[in-house]
Structures are given as C-alpha cells and as structure tokens.
C-alpha cells in the first residue's frame, strides 16, 4: 500500500523581508500505484513542494497536512520520512566529498532496512542498478555526486530509487538537462520502479518531453504555489500545444 495525501499545504521560506509564502494551499492525492505529473513554469513552487514533503529545513509549513498511508509525515524528521517510504530525486543532487557512492548506498540501505544488506547479493544488486543506468562499475568508488556530469547525477538518483525501493518517489525535474538517450535510460529506470507492486510516483517536470516515456495517470498544472488544473494525460498535450500562458495570465 502507498497512499500519499497532501491537503491544503501552505509553506513559507524566510527571506530578508520576512517570510514569503510559496505554497498557497496544495491539495493532491496519490493512490496506490498511481503516477501523477506536476507541470508548471519556473518559480511556481514545484521544488518547494518536493522539499517540503521530504522535510528540508529551509521550508516552514504554515498549514495543511501530508500523510503517507495515514501516518502524519510532517511530524517526522527527514530520515524518518525516508524510512516511512518517501524518496526524493533531487533537481540538484548534492556533492558529498570523500564519501564513496558504494559506502553511501550501503549506509542508506542499512538505515532503511534496520540491518546491513547481505554482502554478496547487495554488491550484485548495486552493480546491476548502476549498469542498467549506464553507469560504469567504477562509479562505486567515486565520491557522491562530486565531479559527476549533470546526466550522471540524475542517473545516480534513479539508481538509488531502484536500490532503496521506497513506497512513493518524488522526482523533481529528473528530466531537465538530459539528452534524449539519457532521458530514455532514466525513464526506463522509473518505469521499472513503477512496475513494482503499488508504487506511487510524483513526477515534477517543466517539459512534456518525459511524458512520452513515462505515462502519467494524472496531470496537474501547477501555478503560483497551487494546482491550477487537473486532468488526464490529454492535459499534457494541451500544455505542449499552448504552454503555460493561459494559466499565468489568469493568475496575473
């Protein structure tokens, strides 16, 4: 089971001029096994939504709730949210100098499962996950995200998604900055994850391109900190043709 329910979520960030409201009442339900695409212009608050769900300390929740299978997510620490089954593939993955990818993955897996993975199968799993994302096996000895190309960072995020196997994955612009080959590789990884039993995906994107490879069940247009319109994948086709102008104007 994996049901993520976001209800009337309000979020601010601290600025020099005091708190600034970024999310202005987001309501969204991702049922068991569903993939939802969130599409919106730059600055509309998509990353803020992703980070708020994951618990980034920069954001202050001023109202609303988020639950995963009925459990209150917002009262949990960042690592507790991950252990509850949430995963965030970041728009800008962070470099951690001196910490090797293999050490990082093993530490994360151990933390999530409450016990160290069995060495032999784990090494095999890691190598398979890296290979499927066209990452060289020597990747394991490199420092996390340090000196990775933009594409390698994104593929590394999806390798983690497959290995760490959360209930619900939030993918923040995993497609941006990828060439078409890398986009296909990444999409295949996400689709392998979706093929598993009952996995939820919140796919945040600026472009319709990735939706050719990952077919969403629902599409939401996100403007000025909230959902402006929801529909099926035909909504993505409309956006492809007409862009965000209509929504942004309506909002202005």
């Amino acid at each position: 089971m994996s049901k993520l329910v976001i209800t009337d979520l309000h979020v601010t960030v601290d600025t020099e001029d005091g708190p600034k409201e970024i999310l202005k009442g987001v309501t969204l339900t991702i049922n068991d096994g569903e993939t939802h695409a969130i599409m919106g212009p730059n600055g509309s608050g998509k990353s803020t939504l992703a980070y708020s769900i994951a618990g980034h300390p920069k954001y202050t929740i001023t109202g609303g709730t988020v639950t995963l299978d009925g459990q209150d997510v917002l009262s949990l620490s960042v690592d507790e949210r991950a252990r509850a089954g949430l995963f965030l593939a970041m728009q800008y993955p962070v470099e951690v100098p001196g910490v090797s990818v293999s050490n990082f993955l093993r530490t994360a897996k151990t933390a999530l499962d409450g016990e160290a993975p069995k060495l032999r199968t784990w090494v095999k799993d890691v190598n398979a996950a890296l290979e499927q994302l066209n990452l060289d096996p020597s990747f394991g000895t490199r420092s996390v995200n340090e000196g990775f190309s933009g594409g390698e960072k994104k593929r590394h995020e999806i390798a983690q998604l497959e290995l760490l196997d959360p209930k619900v994955a939030v993918l923040d612009e995993t497609d941006s900055g990828l060439d078409i080959d890398a986009l296909k590789v990444v999409s295949e990884g996400v689709n392998r994850f979706r093929a598993r039993e009952g996995k939820g995906v919140l796919l945040i994107t600026h472009y319709t391109r990735i939706l050719r490879y990952i077919e969403p069940d629902f599409v939401h247009v996100f403007v000025d900190g909230k959902v402006a319109e929801s529909g099926g994948k035909e909504l993505a086709e409309q956006l492809e043709a007409n862009g965000y102008d209509k929504y942004v104007k309506a909002n202005a």
Binding site: A54, D79, R81, A82, P93, V94, V96, P97, A111
Partner: protein
C-alpha cells in the same frame, strides 16, 4: 600576495636571508628574547599554558620513554657529546624561536636516524614516545639523514603525558623519497612545542604529515627548504581539537631553488567549548626560484559552537617566472544541504554527520599514504567524534 619593501627585495636576491615572514635566525639563545605574545609568530599561542617551554623552563631528565624498531641497514640510536653537537643545524635550521635555539644549545643528546644511500626500507620506522609526567619539562633533538636515492617512511608517535620542546631535523638526500609522519595523540594534559625542519635534496621527494589529536597545547612548526632544483615537498596535516584544546600548525615552504614544488594540505575539525586551532601557511618564492609550483590549502570543519579556527595563508612571490602558485582557506560548519541529502536517504542525523566528517578527512588520510596507520587514523577520528558531537546530540535529545 604580500607587498614587500625594496630593502627586503634586495636582501632576498642574495638568497640567504630569512624572509620577513619569519624573524632572522640565530643559534645564540641570547638573540631570542622571551616571547611576550605580541610577536607575529607567537600571537596565536597561549603562552601561559606552555609551562615555560617557550621561555626558560628547565630541560629536566626525560620522563618520556622512547622506543623504536630498527629495520635492516638502518642506524637508529641515541648519541651525545661531539656527535650530538655535530648534528645541530644539519637541516639548515637556524633557530628563529627561543625554544628551538635552546634545544640546539642545551640538549646534551640526540636521537639519530641514518638511512644509507640507495637503501629502500620496506617497513615503516616507528619511533614511539610515551610520556609519563607532564609536570616536569623536557626537550629533545632528533636528526634524520636519508642518503641519496634512499626510500623510507618514519612515523613518530607521541602518546601519554609530557611537557616537551622538540626539534626534529630532516635531511633528504638527492633523489631520495622520504615520508615523515608525526602523530600527536597525547593525553589531555600534554604540552608539545615542536619545530620540524627539512632540507630537500635535488630531485628528492619529501612528505611530512602532522597529525594532532590530543594534548592541552600542541604547536608544531614544519619548515622546508631545498638543497637544489627539482625537489618536491608535500606538507600534510590533520587535526581534531576538542573542548579547551589549542592546536597550532605553522608551516613555511621556502622556495630557495628553481623548479621546486610544494603542496600543502591541512584539514581540521573542531568541537567543544574553547577548542582553538591555528594554521599559518607561509610560502616564499625567492627570486632565484624560477619555474616552481606551489599550492596550499587549509580547511576547517566546525562541529559545535564555541570553537575558533584561525587560518592564515601567506604567499610571498619574488619572481614572476613561476609555473603556478595558489592558496585556499575555508572554515565552515556542517553543510545543511549535505546532511539533508544523506538524511533524505534514511540516514540518521548523527550518522550523516559521521559520514561527512569521515569524507572530509578520507582523501587526506589516503594521501598520507602509510597503509599501516590509515586504519588507526580513521579509528581515532571515529573516537574523537564519539567524544563530543554524538554526546551533544544525545544531550539535546536529537538522537533518533
């Protein structure tokens, strides 16, 4: 870059005089007044806690045991009398501090390490100093000579309680490949004032690693000069200061010969009220030193409130004909983004902090390049972390 006056410039052209980065040296103790704390080279040091070692503390009979292994072909022994006297200043050291001048003038014996030319010593030479009593003050002199094209690793290991002034002189022969690691893993009450001076021969490779974890006050000056072109020096440092500790590393790479290299990397972590670290990185590129390369870097990771890290790189360039010169210095707290990234993968806050600190030191420990002490350094970093940060977390109830 530091602006220099014309008089200093012309003096430097003679290639013999000390830079204004360091006071002019002298073997005569009378030329070195007792420091007041206002001197540039003493202004960071807590003189009151030095037990007089910087001034006129008696050099008593040693209460620190000294043991070593002797790989085949190597001579290591204590010497005195004329032989000891003949070893004073072999590294080109002309003392610029009272304590170094006193050590050379007053200490009756020296520990000599002789590695003959062409000998490649497979196992590290480990010299273990184990202090028994920090209430008496003592001093020591070590002279290491590495013959041409020899290869060796020496580890000096300091443990226990002691109040010690020490001068270590290192002569790296032409084409030799030498690593000297000095580990300061003292007990909490130790005071250690040390000057390590190396002369690096033509085309020789010298690596010095200073590792400071324990002691009330540790101050180490690590200096390098070159005895011909083509020499290369790597000055590495790793330190971890706890509450109340003062750890000070000063280094001076004096590029007095062309086509020489220096690469300085010091990294430190600080935790606990009153933890204080000082890093002074002096690099001088003299007029004759054309075609040299130098880079120096100091990074500090501040783990808790109440710590202070001073970091001062000084790069003084007297010739435009250089291959490359640069420096970097940074002092930072834990990076929230790094911790968030790790925690978002299920890793607890303390485990994330542990990973980041290990990562911070990892490359450096590998760079030290002595496999037999790598594990020990990692374990000690671990133990240091366990001391404070994790306790603090527990105290604040943030442990998960």
């Amino acid at each position: 870059m530091t602006v220099t006056t014309d008089s200093v410039r012309s003096a430097l052209e003679q290639d013999t005089i000390e830079s204004h980065l360091n006071p002019v040296g002298s073997f005569d103790v009378a030329d070195h007044p007792v420091p007041t704390g206002r001197e540039e080279i003493w202004r960071f040091s807590p003189l009151k806690r030095l037990k007089g070692l910087h001034a006129d503390a008696p050099f008593d009979r040693s209460t620190t045991s000294c043991t070593w292994n002797t790989p085949e072909g190597v001579r290591i022994e204590g010497v005195s009398g004329d032989e000891a006297r003949s070893l004073r200043g072999i590294s080109g050291l002309v003392p610029n501090t009272r304590f170094a001048a006193r050590v050379l003038a007053e200490v009756p014996a020296s520990l000599v390490v002789d590695v003959p030319a062409d000998l490649e010593v497979a196992e590290p030479i480990v010299i273990s100093l184990d202090g028994k009593d920090a209430s008496t003050t003592e001093a020591g002199h070590v002279a290491m000579r590495f013959g041409a094209h020899s290869k060796a690793v020496v580890v000096i290991n300091h443990e226990g309680s002691s109040a010690m002034a020490a001068v270590v002189e290192i002569v790296v022969g032409d084409g030799a490949d030498v690593t000297v690691v000095s580990i300061q893993d003292w007990a909490d009450d130790a005071v250690h004032l040390a000057h390590h001076q190396a002369r690096v021969g033509r085309d020789a490779t010298y690596k010095h690693a200073a590792v400071s974890f324990g002691g009330d006050v540790v101050r180490m000056d690590a200096n390098v000069t070159y005895d011909g072109p083509g020499g290369s020096a790597e000055l590495l440092g790793l330190y971890f200061a706890d509450a109340g500790q003062h750890i000070e590393h000063r280094l001076f790479a004096d590029h007095n010969a062309p086509h020489t290299k220096s690469n300085v990397v010091y990294k430190g972590a600080l935790q606990g009220e009153g933890a204080h670290t000082v890093w002074i990185g002096n690099v001088l590129i003299r007029k004759v030193a054309e075609g040299i390369e130098t880079y120096e870097e100091n990074r500090n990771l501040v783990l808790t409130d109440g710590c202070r890290a001073d970091s001062v790189p000084n790069l003084e360039i007297e010739t435009g004909e250089i291959e490359g010169a640069g420096h970097a210095s940074a002092t930072a707290r834990f990076d929230d983004e790094q911790l968030f990234y790790l925690q978002s993968r299920g890793v607890s806050e303390k485990e994330a902090q542990r990973l980041v600190v290990h990562g911070f030191f990892n490359d450096l420990i590998r760079q030290v390049g002595v496999p037999s002490i790598e594990d020990r350094l990692l374990t000690t970093v671990e133990a240091e972390l366990a001391k404070n940060v994790l306790q603090d977390l527990a105290a604040f109830g943030r442990e998960s």
